[in-house]
């Protein structure tokens, strides 16, 4: 349709009055964009209709003031309903700082409390560890002693069991004396075990001494330190017999024959 015909059709008047459907409005708008004369005509129609409505009307000064009052009042109510914080950003930031601070303090307190707890715990552990160590030392000592005893007993037992072992009874030199001694001699091992029984304790400054005698020659076989106990004496390779004398403490290099108390001969 030509723009002139379109103008004459009356559709533009209906458009300005708002009497057209949406799709018809779009068509008018498209035409108006393509043809400036149509846009001009639309504006003219609007002016005419405006003047028609305006005829006989007057506006009061206060009318607009009333409108503004109503607008402001409704916006004031709307604003009140919103409740905008005065310094939203500032408050938010401060709130964040406070929460961070609370978290930091809480963390610090937690760390302090656990420090104290763990320190106490550690101290207690230290104490019990020391106690355990002492206990352990004692046990270890006892164990070592037991072990030693066991070893010596095993040795003794072994020496008893040995085929080469010879039992030598030492008899008192004087009659009617009930003291005696037993020597367990192992020539292969050169070992002597000696147990003296019922012998009175040596006087102060004196000690009993064992001698090994081979072909009439006496050799020091060690000092007797205890009565009624099996003692290991010095190593002796060859011996015919054994004798016990009383000597001055620490022993002598030659036996004092006069003080000979016990003697026993190895019997093969």
């Amino acid at each position: 349709m030509k723009p002139e015909d379109y103008i004459l059709s009356g559709i533009l008047e209906l458009y300005v009055c708002g009497a057209l459907k949406n799709e018809e409005c779009l068509e008018v708008q498209l035409m108006a964009k393509q043809h400036p004369e149509i846009q001009i005509e639309i504006d003219k129609i609007e002016q005419s209709l405006k003047k028609l409505a305006e005829s006989g009307q007057t506006l009061h000064e206060h009318t607009f003031e009333n409108i503004i009052d109503q607008v402001n009042e409704s916006e004031h109510i709307a604003d009140n309903n919103k409740i905008i914080p005065l310094h939203p950003f500032h408050d938010q930031q401060r709130r964040r700082y406070i929460s961070l601070m609370v978290a930091a303090v809480a963390l610090f307190l937690l760390a302090s409390v656990s420090n104290v707890y763990f320190f106490n715990h550690w101290k207690n552990s230290e104490k019990s560890l020391i106690a355990l160590k002492v206990e352990d030392d004692k046990t270890h000592k006892a164990y070592l002693e037991t072990q030693q005893k066991l070893n010596s007993m095993q040795d003794e037992l072994a020496s008893y069991k040995s085929k080469d072992l010879m039992v030598v009874m030492l008899h008192p030199m004087k009659k009617n004396m009930d003291y005696k001694a037993i020597a367990l001699y192992n020539p292969k091992m050169k070992s002597i075990q000696l147990k003296v029984m019922n012998l009175p304790t040596a006087p102060q400054g004196m000690q009993y001494q064992l001698w090994a005698i081979k072909d009439g020659k006496a050799t020091d076989a060690g000092m007797i330190t205890e009565i009624n106990k099996m003692e290991t004496m010095k190593s002796i390779p060859n011996s015919d017999s054994f004798a016990i004398t009383m000597e001055k403490a620490g022993g002598s290099s030659e036996p004092t024959m006069a003080s000979m108390l016990l003697m026993g001969k190895i019997e093969i």
Partner: protein, 204 residues
């Protein structure tokens, strides 16, 4: 750096310039664009310009529906408050600003006409429907023809006048008007075209 207060003053400038130039060379369309932009930005000065430009016409439309000076004044205020509050609904791609405001004014007046309070107050017992039908010819004449407008509408032949009344003042659609007047759609078009042409001769 962004200064919101400074930019607020900048927004007012074109409105101020345009208010000085209401009757000057600035074209209607440019002025309208500035007003639309101003109202969208919440500028009350722009609303004042809009009121100065269209207030009288909208009051006339309301008056022709409601036929009461005092009520028209109240409804005009109500209409502008609605325009301000619902301005985000206005889409210039769907129609003219004048047409959009015309609809608000007509609907505000017709709603008032519908309200029982108003009907009782006016004691219009025959008014069963919100929009008076054209066949209730007598009532309609009384409502639309009154002081001031008579001189203008007198220039129109009755068949032209009734089309203007229905389509322009009462907001009937093209097809509703045709149905009501019992005339073809094309005739509605040609009659409204003739009516506006006649009026133009008087106005210019």
């Amino acid at each position: 750096m962004y200064y919101p207060i400074f930019s607020k003053y900048l927004q007012i400038l074109p409105i101020f310039a345009s208010s000085l130039a209401v009757n000057s060379q600035i074209s209607n369309i440019d002025q309208e664009e500035i007003i639309i932009k101003g109202i969208r930005e919440g500028n009350q000065a722009a609303l004042r310009l809009l009121f100065q430009k269209y207030g009288k016409a909208l009051k006339g439309v309301i008056f022709r529906i409601i036929n009461d000076v005092e009520t028209s004044e109240d409804l005009l205020q109500e209409t502008f408050v609605k325009i301000w509050q619902n301005f985000d609904l206005f889409d210039e791609n769907k129609g003219k600003l004048f047409t959009w405001m015309l609809n608000i004014a007509r609907n505000t007046a017709i709603d008032k006409l519908r309200s029982t309070k108003f009907i009782q107050g006016k004691k219009i017992q025959e008014l069963n429907e919100a929009v008076p039908k054209i066949d209730a010819a007598n009532n309609f004449e009384i409502q639309l023809d009154h002081i001031g407008i008579q001189s203008l509408t007198k220039v129109l032949k009755p068949e032209l006048k009734e089309v203007v009344d229905l389509v322009y003042f009462l907001g009937y659609s093209h097809s509703e008007a045709a149905e009501n007047l019992n005339i073809p759609l094309g005739t509605v078009k040609t009659r409204i075209r003739s009516a506006i042409n006649e009026l133009r001769k008087v106005f210019v």
